[in-house]
């Protein structure tokens, strides 16, 4: 459908509705409540047009990174609608993401927690002002508490202080720890496998972190010697 056709649709039906609705909205200052009844497809059209015409490639970031996948499209639509995905759809999306998880090729889940801490500290990489050689950070402290000594931590995600200790990990090689360590790997590799519309990036799936780096991040969380578990 082209733009001019949408304009005519808009002028035929949409405008009258919008005009009628607008003054009420201005008084109440509650714009969200007036959402898009009847005009949602028109607004969606102009939204897609705006995205298509407004962004350009810059540095290492191509405009094509906006061509996103089914998971993000479904979650964005749910956010716009102001209600979470229904349970069935959420399960479908989680299953889709679970399938993408690459388990460690050598069966080794736990690396060096100190290297994990360094990755957790860094929020660098993959912006249009970075170059291709900028090492990617894990961005962990931006949203999570980890080592208690680091007071500069974000709160968008839950605190991960004592992550392994609270989950009873006393020996990373013990069979008792296997399930939680595997979950930790999977959650970092693809967070959406466990929570369809999680705010957390999919570090492994989207190529932000390598397998070796995820091993170090798992160590930071589960190793009883890690600063996180002191």
């Amino acid at each position: 459908m082209n733009k001019s056709k949408y304009f005519s649709v808009l002028s035929a039906i949409g405008v009258t509705l919008l005009m009628a609705v607008a003054p009420v909205q201005a008084q109440k200052a509650k714009p969200v409540a007036v959402a898009s009844t009847g005009n949602a497809d028109v607004f969606d059209f102009f939204y897609r047009e705006a995205v298509k015409t407004s962004f350009r490639d810059q540095g290492i970031v191509k405009a094509s990174v906006l061509n996103t996948d089914e998971t993000n499209l479904a979650c964005s639509a749910a956010d716009v609608a102001g209600k979470p995905l229904d349970k069935k759809r959420a399960k479908e999306i989680e299953a889709l993401n679970l399938k993408t998880i690459k388990w460690p090729s050598d069966g080794k889940f736990v690396g060096d927690w100190k290297e994990g801490e360094a990755l957790a500290q860094s929020g660098r990489g993959l912006t249009y002002s970075d170059d291709a050689t900028t090492p990617n950070g894990g961005n962990c402290y931006n949203c999570h508490q980890l080592d208690k000594k680091e007071i500069s931590f974000g709160t968008i995600g839950p605190s991960l202080y004592n992550y392994g200790k609270l989950r009873g990990v006393t020996d990373v090689n013990s069979p008792a720890s296997k399930a939680i360590i595997e979950y930790t790997w999977g959650k970092i590799w693809n967070s959406k496998a466990y929570n369809a519309c999680s705010n957390m990036p999919r570090a492994g799936h989207m190529g932000i972190m390598t397998e070796a780096q995820i091993r170090h991040l798992v160590a930071l969380l589960v190793d009883p010697k890690s600063a996180v578990n002191q």
Binding site: P31, F43, S54, V65, T127, I151, S152, I156, P201
Partner: protein, 259 residues
Amino acid sequence: MLALGCLTTTAVVAQKTAVQSIEEYRAMLADGNPSELFEAKGEDLWKQKRGPKNASLEACDLGKGPGVYKGAFVELPRYFADTGRVQDMESRLLTCMQNLQGFNADEIAKTAFGKGEQVNVTALATWLSSESKGMKFNLSQAHPQEKISYEVGRRLFFQRAGPHDFSCASCHGQDNTRIRLQDLPNLTKNPGDGIGFAAWPAYRVSNGQMWGMQQRLNDCYRQQRFPYPGFGSDVTIALGVYLGVNSAGAKSIAPALKR
């Protein structure tokens, strides 16, 4: 047990000191806002005859009629019949610079922030925002284009994409959260006086730069790992409408002072 108690106390004291010193630092900064220099420059640029047409901007229509600038900032972005577009302060300034002074608006839009005429656009926006300081945001949603712009902005706010799946809402969709130590306003609703949309243009102490809203939104997108949004493009304008309408009734403190 006693030793443990002491350790805890020490940790608490250390944390308090760090938070306190950040607060002290902020208070110290508020003492003198360098944005005043940009305000003075902006006022001068408004009155000065410049450009190929050697004209001032004094006849510029910011939405309240030619030459009326008091209170214009808190009603922008809005629809302008002459351009057939919803425009914010900065994109409207480009229109005036082109029509009145003969500058090439597209060229200025393509110029990097902090370079060439972009510096002057920022200074002008800074001064014009100061002429609405303390006033309440009151954006029109009467024109269908303004309504479309709001709805486009709302969809952009929740657009998850890029390698990190981030949207604006990843950071600005909840109450009382932080990135590291930085408090994040919830911009899906009115965040209050002088917060979010009501705090730009602002002088950023960390890099010594004066930023308008266009640059602020551009940098949000950069950190989101999104590509480069055009200056005054449909996405940055629509986001301005979304944030501005959500801020209805909030007092503007622009030009503000940021970390």
